[in-house]
Amino acid sequence: MHLDATIATFLIQDGLTNGAVYALLGLAIVLVFSVTRVIFIPQGEFVAYGALTLATLDTGNVPGTPKLLLCFGVAAFLLDLWSWRRDLKVDALLRNIALNLGLPLLIYGAVLYLAPLQLPSVVRVLITVSIIAPMGLYVYRIAYRPLADASVLVLLITSVGVHLAMLGLGLIFFGPEGLRAAPLHDGSFTMGPLLVTAQSVLIYLMTILIMIALYFFFEKTLLGKALRATAVNRLGARLVGVRTQLTGVTAFVLAATIAALSGVLMGPITTIYYDTGFLIGLKGFVAAILGGMGSFPVTAIAAIGVGMVESFASFFASNYKEIIVFGLIVPVLIWLSIGAIHHEEE
């Protein structure tokens, strides 16, 4: 079977669309890693939650995620109470109640009220993101904050635990079958032999927009600069007054938001299962590794490359597609390990 120009353009388009989503996920993984040293494996679950929440909202039903958010909030609240058991201050308690109980309750109530109304798709997307984004906050509070100073290895194992827990919760709240969201915009146009759907254009635009937003966040805002400072040197940032807990939370909320948006973009072009997210996240992770877990631009370009390789591999050797994609890591790791000076984990 030979490749002609038409098929090649189809494959390039497909690779670009998937690559754009991988780029977003890769960026979020690099962001979380550089600020908190956490390898954010549960990223994929946030993607799946986002897509499944949107798909459930499309049918006019109340998704399981607001309830899950409520459970997370209660867990975070109890953990906070426990950590303050010897020294309880009223104002801190009130703030805590507002953040850990009030916010999820508010979202839960709003979703309960809004879900049955046939709202335009943009509103459904906003609802989805506002359900998933705070989960980043609670996941950080419950799983990672108590371990903020642990080694990278401990944090990695924690990530695996969080991933497995969220996977199981996804099965409980969404069921075993896949869902597909309605496209945010139904239109499409032809470009030569190519049929370009509005959804794929939306994916490109969204990816570029988020990258620009991230750039301005890191370059122009105080919080963004604090995040960068934490990434460069944790201890140093602390010495000059950066609250590393705050930067950690911010990184997680940002990552959850990006993941929810990726899910929203991905949901209408494919079938998402409660356990699909892991593989999507892993492709973003491949891109992040190709970017050396540090460089945003290299990660983004590598992600597009991963999408392309995946697309062409699925045409030429569909049986070996995943092997080819994940095989990309090996030469890069060898290259990085040649360049790196070995030092023990502190």
Binding site: R180, T270, Y273, L279, S318, N319
Partner: protein, 391 residues
């Protein structure tokens, strides 16, 4: 008691916690007479099969021929080693009279191995390959792919299909179907012109679809299950393929129709008869049990909640209801004599008119189903319909 004091009493708190957790164990009466051990994947990649099975087990009767039923249900997550461990537990600790499971083939093979070793009648809820089905103790509930395939290939021949592009799962399920197509399909004049694979979790099958269509086939054959089969179904239609698409039984679910939407036009599905029990002629041997099952299942879990997978355990109960009274004349449950008598009774008490066909087990054939275990369907307006026979 202050908070601090309470925490000093962690010991008591621990005891209270253990007591609460073990309540269900104590609540289980040890009076049950016939013990059935079931291992199915209610989590993991086989959960879409395991959950309807678990639901269907809730519909089982409380007793057979006056003997109380005790059911032990364990989750194996589709993992062969867990399924084997569960089966060992059933055999050694629970001394079960009947074993069932698992719903995924590798795990079912694991359970079959234990059943053969210890001598317990075993129902595989997955179409295990012939070497396993030849085992003395294992009986197979789902249709082996050849039963469904022959029905499908006959129709494809009638439709004038010669060149077929295959798109299916890159696992044993997809492999089984492509082998049917390549080996048995030859007798029906079918030629496989493209063999493309993907994984259920893939987010795109564009490459596979392009290659399948570039081979200029008369028809596309999809060997995938559940909503996972929707991806190539939508893909081939998006790329402008208007020819017939043939989809295997694993994809016959309402979730598939919901996701594939309009893309299911000119598509034919092979299936077990349970999906369209209402449409069957009144003299069909599968109608009575089919309607009874659907009434019970959809009465409990809501309209259109039926799947093909759940009713396999209902069929197991249809078989046991006839075989257990025969075995009871020879021995008491809980003894190896009873297990042996039950095994013989299952082989000799057929035919069983069940929801998925008519089982007629013999010492040589532990699949038991014939062509009555397969129907062809089309889909319209989000519903499956029985496809009329082509003369």
């Amino acid at each position: 008691m202050s908070w601090e004091d309470f925490m000093k009493n962690r010991f008591f708190a621990g005891i209270a916690a253990i007591a609460v957790m073990s309540l269900p164990v104590f609540a289980n009466p040890a009076l049950a007479d016939i013990t059935i051990g079931v291992t199915i994947p209610t989590t993991g990649p086989g959960a879409a099969l395991g959950i309807p099975l678990k639901n269907s087990i809730e519909l089982w009767p409380k007793e057979i021929a006056g003997e109380k039923l005790k059911v032990i249900l364990l989750d194996d997550a589709g993992d062969p080693s867990i399924a084997t461990t569960n089966a060992r537990r059933f055999a050694n600790d629970d001394k079960v009279d009947v074993m069932m499971g698992s719903a995924l083939t590798p795990a079912a093979i694991g359970a079959a191995g234990v059943a053969a070793e210890v001598g317990v009648p075993h129902f595989a809820i997955s179409p295990v390959p012939p070497p396993v089905a030849k085992g003395k103790w294992t009986f197979v509930l789902p249709q082996y792919s050849s039963v469904l395939a022959k029905r499908m290939f006959t129709r494809m021949k009638q439709d004038g299909v010669k060149r077929v592009s295959f798109i299916g799962f890159a696992d044993s399920y997809g492999q089984q179907w492509v082998e049917e197509l390549k080996n048995t399909g030859k007798e029906y004049g079918l030629e496989v012109v493209a063999d493309e694979r993907y994984a259920r979790a893939d987010t795109s099958v564009s490459g596979q679809v392009l290659k399948a269509i570039a081979a200029k086939p008369d028809a596309v054959f999809i060997g995938a299950s559940g909503t996972g089969a929707a991806l190539p179904q939508i893909g081939v239609r998006e790329r402008g393929f208007t020819g017939p698409v043939y989809v295997v039984s694993g994809a016959v679910t309402f979730e598939f129709l919901r996701i594939a939407g309009k893309a299911v036009e000119n598509t034919i599905f092979s299936s077990g008869p349970i999906m369209v029990a209402e449409d069957q002629p009144d003299d069909s041997p599968t109608k009575a049990e089919g309607l009874a099952y659907l009434k019970a299942y959809e009465g409990k879990f809501g309209p259109n909640s039926r799947t093909q997978f759940g009713s396999h355990v209902w069929d197991a109960m249809v078989i046991l209801k006839k075989a257990v009274p025969v075995a009871l004349q020879k021995a008491k449950p809980g003894t190896s004599e009873f297990r042996a008598a039950l095994r013989d009774a299952i082989e000799s008490s057929g035919p069983y008119n069940a929801t998925h066909g008519v089982f007629q087990f013999t010492p040589q054939d532990h699949y038991g189903l014939d062509q009555r275990g397969a129907v062809l369907l089309t889909a319209k307006d989000g519903k499956f319909q029985l496809l009329p026979e082509k003369k």
